[in-house]
């Protein structure tokens, strides 16, 4: 069985649009258009973000490996982000700070703007200004941005681990984190009820 569709044909835009709408719809249904819910993961009263993303990750990982097993997908065709050590650390920190302050991440801000949330629209505006500024001053930090390119590294490869064994461990960690965050959430919500 070949690929479901060819990335280079004109239908890819239509399919991207359909997938994008489905993604936005699911984000909204999961409550990801609420900045209170999103920021909850940092304050410990709501871990839905972590749970949803972890579930999505393990579902996708298991699905992809099975797809590959049945010969439906060629995993080597899938783009893997390059890992730049410095920019990954700084970018991750900036993203986290922006997430706590703004209450959205880029994807969810678009989702919340679509249902008419003003804070999300402001966030999206800031995000676009940030993109433009980043581009304008790019030469200043191009060196840092590109430094330490480790290529498309995968965690299991750098650990010298079997891919499937790593996935099993990852699933176990995900489930353990669900249990742990459920416990923390219960404690914190009990406490906040007292006030």
């Amino acid at each position: 069985m070949g690929p479901l569709f060819n990335a280079s044909d004109e239908w890819s835009f239509v399919i991207a649009l359909v997938i994008g709408i489905a993604f936005g719809y699911l984000l909204e249904s999961a409550g990801f258009s609420s900045s209170r819910k999103l920021a909850g993961v940092f304050y410990g009263y709501d871990f839905v973000v972590l749970q949803v993303f972890f579930t999505a990750a393990i579902t996708a990982a298991i699905g992809l490996l099975f797809f590959e097993y049945f010969g439906w997908i060629d995993l080597s065709d899938i783009w893997v982000n390059r890992f730049y050590t410095g920019s990954a650390i700084l970018g991750g920190a900036l993203m986290g700070i922006g997430f706590v302050i703004g209450g959205f991440c880029p994807g969810t801000s678009a989702c919340a703007s679509a249902i008419g949330k003003i804070d999300a629209m402001l966030f999206l505006g800031g995000f676009i200004i940030g993109v433009i500024l980043f581009d304008a001053f790019y030469p200043l930090y191009a060196g840092f941005y590109k430094a330490g390119n480790q290529g498309p590294v995968k965690i299991y490869e750098s650990l010298g681990m079997d891919r499937e064994v790593f996935l099993l461990l990852f699933v176990i960690v995900a489930i353990a984190s669900f249990v742990a965050t459920g416990y923390i959430q219960q404690k914190i919500s009990h406490k906040s009820k007292k006030y």
Binding site: L65, Y69, W79, N81, C105, E164, I172, I175
Partner: protein
Amino acid sequence: MSDTRIIKKRYIFMASVFIGLALLLVILPKKSTSKQLKPEQLLLQINDNNRYVSTDEVARKIIAADSYMQLIDVRSPGEYAEFHLKGAINIPIDSIFNKDEKGNYVYEDILNQDIKTNVFYSNGTVYANQVWILLKRLNYKNNYVMKGGLNRWIETVIRPKRPPVTATVNEMALYNFRKAASMYFGGGSVAAPAEDNTPAPIIKKKAGKEEEEGGC
């Protein structure tokens, strides 16, 4: 209370499904992830004449010292020692799939890379074509065949025939080029020209081209 218990049961069920599926992936036998070309694709490629490079083109590149072309002589080492094109390395047809002690193909660095253009030749076209097809089956890229092989090389580059007086300007130009090339390559003599015996350059694969970045 009973409601939370139902949810918990559902969670436990989902968690066991995930762990079960992940365990299944661990247990399932590994499939060989061969990148070989499918037969129908191979057939298409075989019928495509794009793999051929003419002797004139090869001559032109040798004269221009084009370092992006790697000539590969697929004849026996004996024949290679007797005569070979300038800059050609010898990978006999029966040893293209030689493996080292680790089980890797010895010549993979040369035959499967994306920097140089490999051009195979033999005395005719047949053996070079065979090598090309075998490598195509493995989905190796950047491999070409010198059409007509050394026989055509001698006919066209070393001993070019003067075209009739009615020949077009292009034909005359080609003839003049061939005559010049013939002089460059030692005019009409097929006796083994002095060749440098420098070892074959080992071409390292480029570490992944830079592509556009994706994001969240």
